[in-house]
């Protein structure tokens, strides 16, 4: 236990040391919320990965690979496709962000649709949908500390320790804002995805050599992909990949990464850096899970495959390193969540209806982060049997932001009426269908509730775009936004406040 907890302690101290060296430079809300748009490609890439892949990748998707086999690779497909999306929208989002001093995803909605209220609606959907996942992430640390104690600590106590550790870490998230998140993401990302990939590679070799578990020796059922005659339906995998790809950019903590880069070039380079790392890490993790399914201990406890195999292969030292990797991944995800929600509370909810100066915005964001941390920590210590179902429900709901987001970025005709009505109809449809048909819809060939709701959402959006044409002044304003994207980016552009009429 001294080895495992000792390694965790060393890692935690290293993160705090890095954060302490970062220093506070939040002279403006832009500094605090998007780190002054100052980070280069390497930081952007690691920050994206550290937020994209939570610690539960090692447990939940490791278990999925161990139980369902190759089907679990849908997560790699959508994690890579989402980087393509990032590449395609990088230019538009970054230029609008820089030109109009945008800080959050709802900020962009407000700009594109010239609407004050859409900002609040998008922020509330984002925060409500994100809290269950934040709580799940904190609870997952319970597993970590239970294993690091070699089973001595009861699970309930382990959850409290995990929540305490991650809550202490948030002191620096609150103090340093986005700059602290990204600097620590860089270190945590290297540990979690480069260090994690090295450990995964070693464990795969161990499974092949020492346990004779190979791709050819696995049960043929491990190569099943839900198809025409499957229980889930022929479009189930399609639906998972589609909603995963576009849904990823609906999370506020992912979207805000597009605003923290120091230019379009850095964003695009970060995509080129992140995509091979993501491919290698995801592939190794899932192949590891599949091969680990040959071990009786993993069959009995698939969720713990990462810890069980590490301990069996390398004793307490490797178990401790596996714990460090999972903690690094978990902290990055949690920090990003809390930072994004704090910024949204300040700018999109309170600041949307009250005139606040820079100092007050920062103070409110800090208080918001503190409140979210306390709320999530409290919920994580409770027994909430419906939490996972609620989280799935929340995911099907939040992806409804995709319609106004992507149509808004790539299509000039959409209007605020269609954006708001589409989002509300899509959200309601997703919630209703998920409650009635949890998981997937057998009558829709396996489409998930969120995918069907996206169709409803899209039809409302496009329908209202044609039924309620933009006024001439709005058409010109939107045309101006898109024209701006086509022009070469300025070498230096002082950010301006939103010049759209809703604030004037």
């Amino acid at each position: 236990m001294a080895i495992t907890f000792g390694l965790l302690l060393v890692f935690f101290i290293a993160v705090i040391w890095i954060l302490q060296r970062t220093g506070i430079r939040d002279t403006s809300f832009t500094d605090y919320a998007v780190a002054g748009r100052s980070f280069g490609a390497r930081y952007q890439a690691m920050s994206f990965l550290n937020t994209w892949y939570p610690g539960s990748m090692f447990t939940a998707f490791g278990a999925l690979a161990a139980t369902t086999g190759v089907m679990s690779f849908y997560v790699v497909s959508y994690s890579l496709l989402t980087v393509v999306l990032m590449y395609v929208m990088a230019r538009t989002v970054w230029i609008w962000g820089k030109r109009f001093d945008l800080h959050t995803q709802p900020d962009l909605f407000a700009l594109r649709y010239n609407s004050r209220h859409i900002r609040t609606i998008a922020a509330i959907i984002g925060i409500i949908s994100g809290v269950p996942w934040l709580v799940l992430g904190m609870q997952a640390l319970g597993d970590l500390f239970h294993f690091m104690s070699l089973g001595y600590l009861p699970f309930s106590v382990s959850v409290i320790i995990g929540v305490t550790v991650v809550a202490i870490r948030q002191i620096w998230t609150v103090r340093l804002g986005m700059r602290g998140v990204i600097v620590s993401d860089y270190f945590q990302g290297i540990v979690a995805y480069i260090g994690g990939s090295l450990i995964l590679g070693g464990l795969i070799i161990w499974l092949v050599v020492a346990k004779d578990s190979t791709l050819s020796s696995l049960d043929p059922k491990m190569y099943a992909i839900p198809g025409l005659s499957s229980k889930q339906g022929p479009l189930y995998v399609f639906s998972l990949i589609l909603t995963g790809t576009i849904g990823g950019w609906c999370w506020p903590y992912i979207f805000v990464r597009l605003f923290t880069a120091d230019g379009v070039g850095s964003l695009k380079k970060s995509a080129a850096l992140a995509v091979p790392l993501s491919f290698v890490f995801g592939t190794l993790l899932l192949i590891f899970g599949m091969l680990a399914s040959a071990l009786p201990s993993v069959v009995a406890q698939p969720n713990d495959a990462w810890f069980l195999v590490a301990q069996e292969a390398g004793g307490h030292l490797l178990l401790g390193l596996a714990g460090v990797v999972l903690l690094a991944a978990s902290m990055g995800h949690t920090d990003g969540n809390i930072q994004a929600y704090g910024a949204q509370i300040a700018t999109d909810i309170i600041g949307n209806y009250t005139k606040l100066d820079q100092t007050r915005l920062i103070v409110i964001a800090k208080v918001g982060m503190l409140l979210i941390t306390i709320l999530a920590s409290w919920l994580a210590c409770l027994t909430l049997p419906a939490l996972f179902s609620l989280a799935v429900l929340a995911y099907q709901g939040i992806i409804q932001l995709a319609v106004p987001q992507f149509f808004g970025i790539f299509w000039r005709r959409g209007n605020k009426q269609g954006a708001i009505a589409g989002m509300v109809c899509g959200f309601a449809t997703a919630v209703f269908l998920e409650l009635v048909f949890p998981g997937y819809l057998p009558w829709a060939w396996g489409l998930t509730s969120g995918a069907v709701a996206l169709v409803v959402n899209g039809c409302v959006y496009v329908g209202l775009a044609y039924l309620l044409p933009q006024t001439e002044s709005e058409r010109l304003r939107v045309a101006g936004l898109f024209k701006m994207v086509q022009e070469p980016p300025p070498i230096r552009t002082d950010s301006v406040s939103l010049t759209t009429s809703y604030l004037r």
Binding site: Y87, L215, I225, V275, R412
Partner: protein
């Protein structure tokens, strides 16, 4: 393409745009994964069902890296 769609490809080659579209097709088209379903016949010692996903991943990874170098060659990014 309707006029109101924003032009995404300021300086991005048509080949890269087509490659991105191809990425979406190979990753999402149900007939492709239906064909790979339960196919354990190995190619280079890798069962086809797994090889399908690896090929999709390699294709997408290659496209993003190629897009970056294409943009750099055109002076779109530094």
């Amino acid at each position: 393409m309707p006029m109101e769609f924003v032009q995404l490809r300021r300086g991005q080659s048509r080949a890269i745009s087509l490659w991105f579209i191809f990425d979406a097709v190979v990753a999402l088209a149900p007939p492709l994964y239906w064909a790979a379903d339960a196919n354990t016949r190995p190619i280079l010692s890798i069962p086809i069902a797994l090889l399908y996903f690896l090929a999709v991943g390699a294709c997408i990874t290659g496209s993003v890296i190629a897009a970056y170098f294409d943009d750099r060659a055109r002076g779109e990014v530094s």
